[in-house]
């Protein structure tokens, strides 16, 4: 909300500088985001005298004016029809920054122009232009425009962030009330007397929905002259971000900014049968609003109607059929209170947020409704020569009522943590317009009608504390009732991350949502298509879902890095996947599953002076994943071949399922070439995904024990076998371990060889067998005997060949 400093002076005396006022407001709950010196906005706008004008040689409608600014004579090209020699005008010199644009020296159709002669529209005061401003004779040439021409510009605008609870402060009166409480200076009243009547001959008011409209007042102002507003009105509106339209519209806007009460002016003569009906709209009822658009209404919308139909959407926008135009003679002025949620709903549904609906939504002062009407009427009398009786027709089916609040001073002192403040509590509440009746242990507090936000005693605590800027409340650390700290998720998370980082992983954070396009691009759509969670109102037009896994997110990150020549990547993310899952009763429920994702591309390490490059491949990726799991939960992993279509985004020949403690815990492998094709990815990509909760449970469930070790030496033997290429190494290892060989402690594959020497489709494998006894030092004979057992078993079970 824009608040004009001098406007506040209408209501309260101000002796402080603008900085001090901004500080007081900020520290009491009205954050002043910016203070603008209006004068600064009109730098380089000066009063000038038009010495002579001549026609532009190349343009009929332009004139070349010679103007004097008191210090220099300038040539300015001007297109306004009303410019002529002998006028005092406003020139915006090069460097001026006007609402309509920045002014520079220009060349217009081959003629140089050293500035612009301004209209009120150029200065931002009015919506329409009626030619350049011609100033009265007595204004001095060369002065800045705020010095004599527009003195009201010598002012400051405070841009205040009004929190949604303080609808009452969306007005100068509201902020002035606050300043009055903060400075202990009285609030000045605009002295306007009026009489309330419940019947009048000029109009009938019928409120059909008193819940949505508890109070509706109307006044008739006759014989108004629709014309331009005076300068001070234009400037006040301009400073608050509005444009002057005509005196009637400007007055309603002025009163709204002044008192927070939105008003509506109808052309009285267009109201059929002189009857106002406040009712719910009929389903499908149509109305053309002031902006010329036809709106279709719903039963939940409130309208102002006459006997012929809706003439306004209550509190949101007027109808074109009752609009005040230049022809209007008589005005029916509406000042009313509408139910905030109802207004909000309608304004939101019709996408018609307005200054009026904004205030109605936040609740206006129900008791102040007639005062706003009389202020408008009196201004229409002064500025539009309107004739009116100070009589307000007041339809008031649901009179304002608000329960008082029981206030417990002791509790307040405890709550705020300071007993001293209580000495000031009563004065502060009274300064803010509350009335206080003190009893022994509790106070009865009555809330002023404009403070709809205050409903409970805690609201009063805030009122008391904020007038001291919260500075009287001293910081104090609470007593901690120490419980033994729960070892939780974060202990596991930290430990897991620590291991991943040790192995070289860079952590990324991806958005939780992806577009369907991205899912299809990464071939993950088919796998999850029945389990997707759609976002109803995504940021873009693309259909967007919560990501069912991290594959497409990771591919996007890899692509971005490849585009920036970062190819050697090991990325990880611990985040969620979101899917629909069926519960026992076949109900679909939302599942948020934490997953650990990895992505690898390029080289594990690059070529260097000591080593050739080592690209990421299936086995070093396997090693990293295995290493991280073992380091974190101390359980070895095994792998299973994936079913060919289970992970459509993986290359089925180079991927595997990860088995931990007998159960599948994730997958890893080379990304399918059909996926890579869809991305600007220039290296092989491996990805892996692990079930976070499964790992976490193992981390907490698995107990590790010490089981002793042998004190006797290890002895080893190498054994080489030649087998068919398609025999998995794991099968051979299994046979070795099940040979019944005693003392066999471990085996290690130390050589893998393929070549013509041993025949095509064959591979030669050399295992190192490690023997060790818990009881004795083994001799050669014993070891040879056990090795032979293994060789025999391999021959028998797998028909292996031994090299000659």
């Amino acid at each position: 909300m824009q608040i004009l400093l001098n406007w506040l002076r209408d209501y309260v005396d101000i002796y402080e500088g603008v900085k001090e006022i901004a500080f007081k407001l900020t520290m009491s709950g009205f954050e002043v985001e910016e203070v603008v010196d209006l004068k600064e906005q009109f730098k380089n706008c000066k009063v000038a005298y038009v010495n002579k004008t001549e026609n532009h040689p190349k343009a009929d409608k332009l004139k070349i004016c010679e103007v004097s600014t008191g210090t220099e004579i300038l040539k300015v090209v001007c297109g306004a029809p009303n410019v002529s020699a002998g006028q005092k005008v406003i020139i915006a010199l090069p460097g001026a920054r006007l609402p309509s644009g920045n002014i520079d020296k220009t060349v217009i159709r081959d003629v140089e122009s050293f500035g612009m002669l301004c209209s009120e529209k150029d200065l931002g005061f009015t919506a329409l232009s009626t030619g350049i401003i011609v100033l009265p004779e007595n204004i001095s040439i060369g002065k800045d425009i705020w010095e004599e021409a527009y003195r009201d510009l010598d002012d400051y605008v405070l841009s205040i962030n009004i929190t949604p609870n303080r609808g009452d402060c969306l007005s100068h009166l509201g902020i002035a009330r606050e300043l009055s409480a903060l400075t202990n200076r009285p609030l000045k009243k605009r002295d306007l007397s009026f009489q309330l009547v419940d019947k009048a001959d000029f109009i009938d008011i019928d409120i059909e929905s008193p819940d949505l409209c508890p109070r509706y007042t109307a006044m008739l102002i006759k014989d108004v002259k629709i014309k331009d507003s005076p300068d001070y009105l234009k400037i006040r509106l301009f400073a608050c971000g509005m444009r002057s339209i005509n005196n009637i519209v400007d007055i309603t806007n002025f009163v709204m900014l002044d008192r927070g009460q939105p008003l509506h002016a109808f052309d009285y003569d267009l109201i059929r049968d002189k009857k106002i009906i406040v009712r719910k709209a009929f389903e499908g009822e149509r109305i053309v609003t002031l902006d010329g658009k036809e709106r279709t209404l719903k039963e939940s919308d409130l309208v102002i109607a006459d006997t012929g139909g809706a003439i306004a959407i209550a509190g949101v926008m007027g109808g074109l059929n009752s609009e005040v135009t230049e022809k209007t003679k008589n005005i029916l002025l509406e000042s009313a209170y509408f139910n905030p949620p109802s207004i909000r709903k309608t304004a939101k549904r019709l996408s018609l947020p307005s200054e009026a609906s904004y205030r109605f939504e936040r609740g206006i002062d129900m008791l102040g409704v007639p005062e706003s009407a009389i202020l408008s009427a009196s201004m229409m009398g002064k500025l539009a020569e309107g004739i009116f009786q100070p009589v307000i027709l007041d339809a008031y089916p649901k009179p304002y009522h608000k329960e008082g609040i029981k206030f417990l001073p002791d509790r307040c002192a405890m709550y705020l943590g300071n007993k001293e403040i209580m000495n000031k509590a009563e004065d502060r509440l009274k300064a803010l317009g509350f009335s206080v009746i003190k009893k022994r242990f509790e106070w009865d507090v009555t809330v002023p009608s404009y403070r709809q936000d205050v409903t409970i005693e805690e609201d009063l605590y805030e009122e008391i504390a904020r007038l001291g800027y919260y500075e009287e409340i001293f910081p104090l650390l609470p007593e901690v009732k120490i419980k033994s700290r729960k070892i939780g998720d974060r202990d596991f998370l930290d430990s897991l991350k620590c291991k991943i980082v040790d192995f070289g992983g860079y952590e990324v954070i991806n958005y939780s949502f992806v577009t369907l396009k991205e899912l299809k691009k990464s071939l993950t759509y088919d796998r999850y298509k029945d389990r997707l969670i759609f976002i109803k109102n995504p940021l873009t037009d693309d259909e967007t879902v919560m990501r069912p896994n991290s594959v497409s997110s990771m591919l996007n990150v890899l692509e971005l890095n490849h585009k920036r020549s970062n190819y050697d990547l090991f990325l990880y993310e611990i985040g969620k996947a979101y899917r629909l899952a069926e519960d026992n009763q076949n109900n679909k429920k939302i599942e948020e599953k934490k997953i650990v994702s990895f992505a690898f591309s390029g080289n594990l390490w690059e070529k260097s002076w000591f080593s050739k490059e080592e690209p990421y491949d299936f086995f070093n990726v396997k090693g990293i994943v295995e290493g991280i799991i073992e380091a974190t939960i101390n359980i070895p992993i095994s792998v299973n071949v994936c079913a060919e279509d289970k992970y459509p985004f993986l290359n089925p020949a180079v991927s595997a399922e990860i088995i931990i403690d007998g159960k599948p815990a994730g997958f890893f492998g080379l990304v399918h070439p059909d996926v890579i094709e869809n991305y600007e990815i220039k290296r092989d990509v491996f990805i892996a995904e692990l079930d976070y909760f499964y790992l976490k449970n193992l981390y907490f469930a698995k107990r590790t024990y010490y089981y002793g070790f042998s004190r006797y030496p290890k002895v080893d033997r190498d054994i080489t076998v030649i087998v068919n290429e398609d025999l998995p190494v794991a099968d051979i290892q299994k046979i070795i371990f099940s040979s019944g060989a005693e003392f066999l402690e471990n085996i290690r594959l130390v050589d893998l060889f393929r070549g013509e020497k041993i025949g095509t489709d064959k591979k030669s494998l050399t295992f190192k067998l490690i023997f060790q006894s818990m009881e004795k030092t083994l001799n050669d004979e014993e070891v040879n005997k056990e090795t032979q057992k293994i060789a025999d078993n391999l021959l028998k079970k797998l028909k292996v060949e031994f090299p000659k």
Binding site: T26, P340, A465, Y470, I473, L477, I535, F570, Y578
Partner: protein, 341 residues
């Protein structure tokens, strides 16, 4: 003819030659030449009988003295040769210590947002807070209704929401965890809840997904003073002891009284700059005393318990800490960005 001069001459030559040898082999040869069974000193001793009785004794003891001397010197020399050889051997393997190191893997990184989250949680942990988490796809009830934000409440404008369906949405703040925790547990409670939150907003300082940490405490006689104490402690631990902190009245539907907390600008130290828009202060978190409506929702008795709650944006604190000017950098995954932090 054996004489004093002859013995001295041999001694002198021996010492000279000993001085010049550098290898163990030369030493063995030289030792044999002088001290061996057929060595020069042995020869001298053999010549003793040829001299007169009177001289024999003194020349004999002179030869033995020279022999003892040489034995000692030879033994020292051998030590010296061995040491020097050892030294030579060691320095044969002298390395260029400036050669680049051999590294077979890069060092990884924890994402700056998560590192700051950990840092924040550690501080609160040391103040006695526990960590709890809640769902990101949340019910309207927990995200709004139970937090005193009914439908058609203007405060819903403060947070533009992504919806899944009529009743479910992506949580717009971590505050619903407050309700979930209070529903299932009884005071005393000191809890912090980190997590992702979502709002329909996207520009240099707003991301549709970002991270918040909610914290709250409920117990008997918890006061605004405690709120100030805990948050001042936290902010000074995070930004530095010397930083001033101020609490300003504000509004949140789920706290009353409510406050916005500012810290002295970390860029200009309170003098006023572009980052703090000239005010010298940076808004870093929102907080307040838990609104009694929330207690009524979870069934706590407000005449027995009171509490405070606060919420902070991890992105904001991280951006201030590392002078990051575009929030979108956090979610791109560009390693050129990540490796700097």
């Amino acid at each position: 003819m054996l004489s004093w001069e002859v013995i001295e001459e041999i001694k002198k030559t021996a010492l000279n030659e000993l001085e010049n040898i550098t290898s163990e082999r030369d030493w063995v040869e030289l030792k044999a030449k002088y001290l061996g069974k057929k060595g020069k000193l042995q020869d001298l001793l053999k010549m003793l009988p040829t001299v007169s009785q009177e001289e024999r004794k003194s020349l004999g003891s002179q030869v033995n003295e020279v022999k003892d001397l040489l034995e000692n010197l030879f033994s020292d020399k051998l030590q010296e040769i061995k040491l020097s050889l050892k030294k030579q051997k060691i320095f044969e393997k002298k390395v260029d210590i400036t050669l680049p190191s051999k590294r077979y893997s890069r060092t990884g990184r924890v994402h700056p947002l998560n590192r700051v989250t950990s840092e924040i949680l550690d501080i609160f942990s040391s103040l006695g807070f526990e960590v709890e988490e809640g769902p990101e796809i949340e019910e309207d009830y927990y995200n709004f209704e139970a937090l005193n934000i009914p439908k058609e409440h203007p405060a819903r404008d403060m947070q533009d929401t992504f919806y899944i369906d009529e009743s479910r949405l992506l949580r717009t703040h971590t505050s619903p965890v407050q309700i979930r925790v209070m529903e299932k547990r009884q005071p005393p409670l000191m809890v912090v809840c980190p997590g992702k939150v979502y709002r329909r907003d996207s520009d240099v300082t707003h991301s549709p997904m970002f991270h918040q940490i909610e914290g709250f405490m409920v117990d008997k006689e918890v006061s605004f003073s405690h709120l100030k104490g805990v948050l001042t402690e936290f902010l000074q631990a995070f930004f530095g002891k010397e930083k001033n902190v101020r609490f300003r009245p504000s509004y949140f539907p789920f706290t009353e009284p409510s406050a916005e907390v500012d810290i002295e600008c970390v860029v200009c130290e309170g003098k006023g700059c572009r980052v703090c828009k000239g005010s010298g202060w940076l808004e870093v978190l929102g907080c307040g005393m838990i609104h009694p409506y929330l207690f009524s929702v979870v069934g706590y008795d407000k005449s027995v318990y009171s509490g405070f709650a606060f919420g902070l944006g991890v992105e904001r604190l991280t951006m201030l800490k590392y002078a990051i000017d575009d929030i979108r950098l956090f979610y791109e995954g560009n390693v050129s960005f990540l490796e700097q932090l």
